[in-house]
């Protein structure tokens, strides 16, 4: 079965979610990958959507973060303040799953503005939503984003959600209690923070991609792991589940 790089990205992201984990899910690519995980290797994944659904089991892709199908299928439905205060903030949720418009060397995320002038930006993006606190408080964070020189930048134009700030020790100094981004999954491969420097390092490429391509798609001097892995190809089962999911709902 042939597959696209976007499909490979969703499959790789889905695989990163351990069965039984609680996962705070952003809409779009994260929601698609998380629902794919629930349909393949992780039927016990607890999906949490910021609009108030805990343990949602949607039969189709939700159209928005507030899609009614989330409340209908959830184990628990709570208000938005309760979601952020009782569930996200204390660090109860194991995995936060985010997208990004820009991401930088230290995995800081921008979804606010493109351009240097906040009040007069080149492009005004939707903004923070739940992302800053997801990035701060979840046990760990997984980011899914397409890898291009425009999205992978040396320094984000605006820090909407903190990854590792300007390097080691910053999260602790800021009082952020989650570990931060542990995986960045793209259409080209997988990046992980270096244990010493916190700098995002290419640790895997998807089949058919090499490190040079990933370097070209990155706006900084991309470090590559000594032992660069290659992601296993999507299985037929994974692709079927993904395509059924995409046919069922809105495009991500």
């Amino acid at each position: 079965m042939s597959w696209t790089t976007d499909e490979m990205m969703s499959v790789a992201a889905a695989r990163a979610l351990p069965d039984g984990a609680s996962c705070f899910v952003g809409i779009g690519l994260p929601s698609k990958a998380a629902n794919l995980a629930r349909r393949t290797h992780a039927p016990g994944l607890v999906l949490i959507y910021e609009a108030g659904a805990i343990g949602a089991k949607p039969a189709r892709l939700p159209m928005s973060i507030g899609d009614g199908i989330l409340a209908e299928t959830a184990d628990v439905v709570v208000s938005v303040p309760e979601m952020f205060n009782y569930w996200l903030q204390p660090g109860r949720i194991e995995v936060g799953f985010l997208g990004a418009a820009q991401i930088d060397r230290f995995a800081n995320i921008n979804t606010t503005v493109i351009g240097d002038d906040y009040l007069h930006p080149k492009v005004r993006l939707p903004g923070a939503g739940g992302a800053p606190e997801i990035a701060a408080s979840c046990g760990e964070v997984v980011v899914i984003v397409r890898q291009t020189p425009r999205s992978f930048v040396e320094k984000v134009d605006f820090v909407t959600s903190v990854g590792y700030g300007s390097g080691p020790g910053d999260r602790e100094r800021l009082g952020l209690r989650g570990r931060g981004p542990v995986l960045v999954i793209t259409d080209l491969g997988v990046l992980e923070p270096d244990p010493e420097t916190c700098e995002l390092t290419l640790t895997a490429v998807h089949p058919g991609v090499d490190a040079a391509q990933a370097r070209e798609a990155t706006g900084w001097e991309l470090a590559v792991a000594d032992e660069l892995r290659t992601s296993p190809e999507p299985t037929g089962e994974e692709l079927e589940a993904l395509r059924a999911l995409e046919a069922s709902g809105a495009p991500a």
Partner: protein, 215 residues
């Protein structure tokens, strides 16, 4: 509806935590107002969802501010005056305070009210309860007015003495959905993308809308 108001020049200032077209992409009138001050400059006060939710909670609780973990390390506090550090008087830990967001008027949509004006809503109710409790006056539009509100799972009830006005507006959540009443009009959200992307298309839409309104 706020993209429409912004495009029509009816909004001076927006206090927000996310400005997108859910499931579609950008809100183009919002973008045009900020990027190009069209049709007018739009003042913004930007928060995260958690911050804004806590501002409603503070107001609903009769407190001048709320405490949270948030914003630290982000660029938001640099641009938003309503974010301030606060120190725990017991542990010395540094946290974040946001001021109460007291509303002049809250307008929300719910499923049902009874004839006495008690309101019942269910599904993902978001910050609707807090918004009503944070407001001096409130208008609740409902899908239907019924003789009696039979108890329902996951229902939030607002007693009539905290609601100023109730109005029966079937389909009042459109283009969004009303849980157990009707689905989201996804086509409308996509159409809005097309209309709002282009100033001329938007202006034509607005003119048409105005024609429908009696002077």
């Amino acid at each position: 509806v706020y993209d429409q108001l912004i495009g029509a020049g009816c909004a001076r200032k927006l206090i927000f935590s996310w400005g997108g077209n859910p499931g579609v992409g950008s809100l183009h009138r919002f973008r045009d107002a900020i990027q190009n001050a069209w049709p007018e400059p739009l003042e913004i006060e930007e928060h995260s969802h958690a911050g804004l939710a806590n501002r409603y909670v503070a107001a609903a609780s009769g407190l001048p501010f709320a405490v949270m973990r948030g914003y630290r390390g982000t660029d938001l506090p640099e641009h938003t005056a309503t974010i301030a550090p606060i120190t725990c008087p017991f542990t010395g830990e540094l946290l974040t305070a946001v001021p109460a967001l007291e509303l002049d008027v809250a307008i929300i949509h719910a499923q049902r009210a009874d004839r006495a004006g008690n309101v019942q809503m269910w599904g993902l109710t978001g910050v609707q309860k807090e918004a009503v409790l944070a407001a001096r006056r409130s208008l609740v539009t409902v899908e239907e007015i019924v003789d009696e509100l039979d108890p329902r799972p996951n229902a939030v009830v607002l007693p009539n003495w905290v609601v100023t006005y109730v109005s029966e507006v079937p389909n009042g959540a459109h283009p969004s959905y009303a849980h157990d009443y009707y689905e989201r009009d996804n086509a409308y959200y996509r159409e809005w993308d097309a209309i709002s992307k282009d100033r001329n298309a938007f202006s034509a839409w607005l003119a048409e809308l105005r024609e429908g309104v009696p002077a």
